[in-house]
Symmetry: C2
Subunit: 508 residues, 2 copies
């Protein structure tokens, strides 16, 4: 494995971050673009990440009393139109089904059987789920309703980027109904906390929780909460959102209930979701110039065993030792899952180890006749440099496996936290703010400063001016008081009195 | 619970089987029809069955070396057209996306942004997955490729029935590529065996494995294997299929590989799937005139605890006893899952017990002050009549829970097996055959005989004549030699020499 002197991924992050990202996705065999415009194929090594995210979140949702269900893929146009802001937000980018069969014409098939009412492929399901809720909810006794669905959605994005912005993506969307505003608000915040837990404890991605500004809210929401993460190009990635919808969608869908006092009232609803975009965030947060680095808590597998035998006579001994080691490791648990072990017996020389480095498996273990003599294995940790490998007694390696994986997980989180800290600056001055977001002559060309914590007056005009000038947006008004600060100081744009600091950044 | 004298479901199976089915779906809160034509909403109690089916099958697939992935929802029309039989089979019932946005016109939104090439919402994914496979496979070293996806598909059915035939449904579709025909055939048969295991060990539905006749094959397949189950109206339900696709789709998608001998060869492919239709089969196989009956291996929950207190002073004792019992039960396992316990504290009288009977939970447990005094609980088993309840010492109930659930599971399977045996007849004579399928004056009006095992010459004309006359189809040519018999005797239709017996039945 030691022969390769160059980075395994070309270009490197410093050379071309955006192209580096595409190359990591390819080299790690996570996904590929498809011939269907903007749609991706998620390959097994990438899909396994989504399965692990799903398992982790689904457990948290169920513990919160949420139940899974499934609603139609298609939304009648008329439903979408019921909430004005909502339809405005999605009309420009939705797939429309207009026919229900194909007919031969001039030697080709053409759409036939025109529908009387076109159907929209769901970009999100508030309106179609609201229709069911309006029938499920009659009395305060039926509340709260706490529902989640794991599904595909379609938004016809003009510029797509694999995982981060695709026409079709996979996600979960939670939808709840409550008898009062306070309970709905609390639920929306609780779900944001679960997303924070997913990001920090599983994805090893530190996030800032906050509220979106009015202009960045979900179409139709009263309040949108979000978690925002910093990528290695210092841009922000919105990694999950939770919406307090007030009574807007209850009004649109006629979700009414009889209160304890016998009055008919409009319900209060929430919705919240994370998507396969998180896999893009995982790559952009942790991968390096040698490829993907998987946080163990979400890795498709934890350890790859690489048996080495130059002579055929060694084969049997080495394979037996390898199989025994695999069985012993698989009996161990990490984060509630059995340790995942791959065995790679391919005889392809150094390329074998490099493939696993690029795929980002946390631990690579070489097993040769000499290691077996010493009852030890030769271990490479993906979070360390690819030259740093160490001989470890086999028994200790097995005994410590959960601790070792936890150490890798911790290292990745700390590294991301330190990176974010190094590129998050409190800025009060307008000139300093504009300088911060103007590309510097750093080792990464076209890289700006990162996150600016700056005072804002809450005037959308200031937000718009900054966006126009710098392509910088308000990522959130952070919940953490240490970040938000007091309602004082001067707006970084207009100089008027500010209402706390916002997180400003360029974003995906 | 004992007050209700009539059956909980109206009409009963004998009165109107088809309407009974709809009423069970509703009473058990499994699903509902949606305002989107032919699409259903799967409610939490129904979706949990699908989650359990998914978990069971996914484990079996992974043990067989299959990996999950995800492919686009949309298929370019041109891809579908590449396999002639295939497009012929699906063109008449597919949702076609023709536009990618909506525009305001005369106060309403209308489709805009017409696509240059229409997209079909996948009715199945052979062609779009084949396109990826053509890139993934280069050499015999890349084979076999064993892939599965859990997804939604759309077939624009004209006559829909909830779970059994819906425009959108959930399924898994496996797709594999092999270097030779024998290996592909073996894989297709292995998957059929896994479906049989799912049906018998989890769904408690006995099935007959066999080959489809040419006219009933999957469009584009060389051979279709299936499992066929008998419902309580004696009709057959195709519960799962596995297809040996020969080189048809490899040719259409250009899946070529370099063989060990260095020759470029066309690969061999398979596909196989089961869908949410299985939930319909589960209902029609096991439910009775009081509602759903859940086989424990697939039940959303196993036990409901029903605390009973007439005096408020008993409340605390009864609730504490109930919570302790729930905790003890949840520590137990059945079929690799923790025992699922619901606690229903609603004060709604006898309706409470009846709701759980209709939902089909395997065990209902009443807990009142007198039971607690005796350290016992009052248990109702859903597979027995609703009046048969028995007092069981609490410790024994907890200790025996896995055995009790296994006994329920066994009873349901045996009952279905006996029902099928009672209505499966070997018929050689044409008149007897026609009589068998002509509605008899039984206690279930419009109910025919069931499954006929009859000799068939393999001439499609005989198959077509029987279908025309009786709406009876060949369900399969059974694999079991005891059913198929020797290639001798006379075709039940034309009298010519037969090639074994086929299973004839009316079907869903």
């Amino acid at each position: 494995m030691g022969k390769q002197e160059q980075a395994a991924i070309s270009p490197t992050r410093a050379e071309n971050y955006s192209e580096w990202y595409q190359q990591v996705v390819k080299a790690a065999d996570l996904a590929e673009t498809s011939p269907v415009r903007g749609c991706m194929v998620i390959k097994p090594w990438g899909y396994a990440i989504w399965e692990n995210i799903r398992q982790a979140l689904d457990g948290m949702f169920k513990a919160a009393g949420v139940k899974n269900a499934y609603f139609p893929l298609f939304i009648p146009l008329e439903f979408l139109e019921r909430e004005a802001e909502h339809v405005e937000g999605f009309a420009k980018e939705c797939a429309v089904v207009t026919h229900h069969r194909l007919e031969a014409k001039d030697g080709r098939l053409v759409p036939a059987g025109e529908l009387t009412e076109p159907l929209v492929v769901r970009p999100t399901s508030e309106t179609i789920i609201g229709e069911s809720f309006s029938r499920w909810v009659k009395s305060y006794r039926d509340l709260p309703v706490l529902i989640n669905q794991w599904a595909n959605v379609v938004r016809w994005e003009m510029r797509t980027r694999i995982f981060l912005r695709t026409s079709e993506f996979l996600w979960q969307e939670g939808h709840t109904v409550h008898a009062d505003a306070a309970e709905a608000m609390e639920l929306a915040r609780h779900m944001l906390n679960l997303y924070e837990k997913l990001a920090t404890d599983y994805l090893a991605i530190p996030v800032i929780k906050g509220n979106k500004s009015d202009s960045e809210r979900f179409p139709g929401a009263v309040e949108t909460f979000c978690i925002e993460a910093m990528m290695q190009d210092r841009k922000a990635l919105q990694a999950g959102t939770s919406h307090f919808l007030g009574q807007n969608f209850a009004r649109a869908s006629k979700i009414l209930f009889q209160s304890e006092q016998g009055k008919e009232e409009l319900a209060w609803t929430t919705s919240w979701g994370v998507s396969t975009r998180l896999i893009g965030g995982l790559i952009m947060c942790h991968a390096d110039d040698d490829g993907m680095i998987m946080p163990p808590a979400i890795a498709p597998a934890h350890v790859v065993l690489l048996p080495i035998f130059k002579k055929d006579s060694d084969r049997e001994t080495v394979m037996a030792y390898t199989d025994t080691l695999a069985a012993r490791l698989r009996e161990k648990q990490y984060m509630g899952r059995p340790v995942g072990v791959e065995i790679d017996t391919r005889d392809i020389g150094g390329a074998r180890g490099w493939e696993w480095i690029k795929k980002g498996i946390p631990l690579r273990v070489e097993i040769g006749p000499k290691d077996i003599e010493k009852q030890s294995v030769f271990v490479g940790r993906r979070d360390m440099g690819h030259r740093e490998k160490m001989s470890v007694p086999t028994d200790r390696f097995v005994e410590d496996i959960a601790d070792t994986l936890a150490a890798v997980q911790h290292t990745l989180y700390q590294r991301a936290l330190e990176f974010r800290a190094a590129h998050t600056v409190t800025i009060d001055d307008k000139k300093a703010f504009y300088d911060f977001f103007t590309p510097q002559n750093t080792d990464m060309p076209e890289i700006h400063g990162g996150f600016a914590l700056s005072p804002w007056c809450r005037d959308p005009a200031c937000e718009a001016a900054i966006k126009d000038d710098l392509s910088v947006t308000i990522r959130c008004l952070p919940h953490d008081e240490a970040l938000r600060g007091a309602d004082a100081g001067s707006c970084v744009c207009c100089g008027k009195t500010a209402k706390g600091r916002a997180v400003f950044a360029k974003a995906y």
